[in-house]
Symmetry: C2
């Protein structure tokens, strides 16, 4: 659960239901059930549909008897492994727990889905079963990045749904990322920046200049402030709330940030463990160091959100433990409660119809565009 977000509550009495894929994570279904127990305790009004192998899940559920009233078990005999290729799962994935978790969303049984399985396969199954949101060409994965911004986090997308993005895709990422920042981070008017190798206008690839012009032109329709180009050093800063980039660059940046944080914490551990004085000092500083650890803990921000599909899918890190999985589940519940999906769809449709009317720059399925109202300031 991201700090500062309201705990999800049913608004009109309709229960919030989250569909959870119990299988496919590095730590197995035990970690998922333990994470589910944490979320269920924190979110007593939310209900869950848990997909996976009953023979494994029943004994795990029995350890948490309080879950029985909150969780419906849905048997799935097969599991998507980390080695499975997305194309194979698209053809032969029916009957897996991942497929089942997405179908709960497709069938309207759940308001959001969570999985810590194979990212490529999850995106493939989500695309196949949920289909793309009308007006969206390439869906994206958005991550939260610890930052100096008031909310404590910045949004970056795409971090790996697709290795390519043309200027129109980058515009859609800006619109979707801004909507996510409003609904997931309560950032009223997100500041959007386009990732480049310098902030000057002439820097970078030609297509980024074109994208920058589009993002600037659509800032009003997308209800964001456009900052122009930002650099890698700005990603964790308080200059920006939403960083837009293609999935190749975003994925490299995300993993580089993770690797750098891991290097520093490893060296810090080594140095603080060296010598008696340092170890005494570390004892005195324990609370500070724990607060530092907490502020930088990647488990707190666990959950890449798939944007641009007909439904909200949260991808938990494959190696997530109970704390991390609970964070992903709580994020899904938060987004379901905020009716994020409908808001996002309306925003994309509204931005699509504006751009279509103005400059006809959005390609693809525009059937949803007519229905866009675009008047809800929290979209």
């Amino acid at each position: 659960m991201v700090d500062g977000l309201q705990l999800p509550r049913t608004s009109d009495g309709t229960p919030i239901v989250i569909s959870v894929d119990a299988m496919g994570g590095d730590l197995g279904p035990a970690a998922v059930v333990a994470g589910l127990a944490l979320s269920a305790a924190a979110l007593p009004d939310v209900r869950f549909v848990l997909h996976g192998d009953e023979a494994q899940l029943k004994p795990l559920m029995a350890r948490h008897p309080e879950l029985a009233a909150h969780v419906a078990l849905r048997h799935a005999a097969r599991v998507v492994s980390m080695e499975d290729k997305p194309s194979q799962i698209m053809r032969h994935g029916q009957g897996t727990s991942m497929w089942g978790a997405i179908d709960s969303l497709r069938d309207g049984e759940a308001g959001a889905a969570v999985s810590c399985g194979n990212t490529g396969a999850l995106m493939a199954v989500s695309m196949l079963r949920l289909r793309k949101l009308p007006g969206v060409n390439r869906p994206a994965i958005a991550c939260l990045w610890p930052s100096r911004s008031p909310s404590g986090f910045n949004v970056m997308l795409d971090v790996g749904a697709d290795v390519k993005a043309d200027p129109k895709d980058l515009l859609q990422y800006a619109v979707m990322g801004a909507s996510y920042a409003r609904n997931g981070m309560a950032t009223k008017r997100p500041r959007v920046g386009l990732l480049n190798v310098g902030t000057e206008e002439h820097k970078g690839r030609a297509e980024l200049k074109e994208a920058s012009d589009l993002l600037a032109a659509q800032a009003a329709a997308g209800d964001y402030d456009y900052l122009g180009f930002v650099e890698g050093s700005d990603i964790p800063s308080d200059r920006v709330d939403v960083i837009v980039t293609d999935g190749f660059t975003g994925n490299v940046a995300l993993k580089t940030g993770e690797g750098t944080a891991k290097l520093i914490s490893g060296i810090m551990r080594e140095e603080l463990g060296r010598g008696l004085l340092s170890r005494i000092g570390a004892l005195f500083s324990m609370r500070s160091l724990n607060r530092l650890k907490l502020r930088m803990d990647p488990r707190r921000v666990n959950g890449g959100v798939f944007l641009g599909l007909n439904g909200v899918v949260v991808k938990s890190h494959g190696s997530a433990d109970a704390t991390g999985i609970s964070a992903a589940i709580s994020l899904a519940a938060q987004l379901a409660t905020a009716r994020f999906h409908e808001r996002l769809a309306a925003r994309v449709a509204s931005a699509g119809s504006t751009t279509q009317n103005d400059t006809a720059i959005i390609s693809g399925d525009q059937t949803g565009a007519q229905t866009g109202q675009g008047s809800d300031p929290t979209q």
Copy 2:
């Protein structure tokens, strides 16, 4: 100066001469002269040619009278500013201190050049005055990255010379980066990885698969071990010594790493300053925290090296202070002493001739290829 490197010494009696651009850094010529004084004290056999405005430099030099025997002043009335466009400097840059510093190298007066000025302009002037090394299509900028590798640093290139790189360019980066790791870091047989969004063969852009095949085929000629794809999280790891990528991705990764390190150190400072116990603890841990700071200090690894030109140019960070500038000057002296430029040229020619004979994959000027011996294991 990077730890573990030998201090430069004249080998056959020929003095090592380094050409230094005194102007154009954020802190002005005072920082450059102060850095020069540090390097001159550490490297008594090295001589320097200092380019810049005499009226400003003479009083600064007077503060370090010991420099008189080591430094020749070369007046340049004009300065390249951070705002100047590379294209303008290429046409009208003659008479600037940057141009003069590069011409010292071109004319054989110096063995390496250092500048902390405008990167784009420095690359443009270097390309124009030094010309590309025969066989090289795109020059690259290589940086050193604090890492878990035995040398304490990994090499990454390109970090911003060019936003594009095709598979043949990436192969040349691998050959040049491996040569730099051998000569700059004393890594006997560098492990080379190609940056991608996953380590599996099918991941990433199609051109990266092609580049990966080239890098694998040329590992023997380039005298490196090819690891295949690596991810952002591997950049600071001990899995790899040389990370190959295009200048767009490399620049974003470099700045993301810097931004992440800055965020963590800022939060650490805040947390350790909060509360009496923490402040007492920080006192006890002072030596450890200072060692941590030293190990992560970006000034220790200050100096992006331009590879693929007829001469060694070291780009110091624009905001470098005396310590940072001294590190860049000492790196230049180390590379000049190691005759890095000749070794690199021979290696590129040798790899070029191999690939040309085998598969004719290297395009561009091949006039240097015939002279390549490729038998020197330290190239």
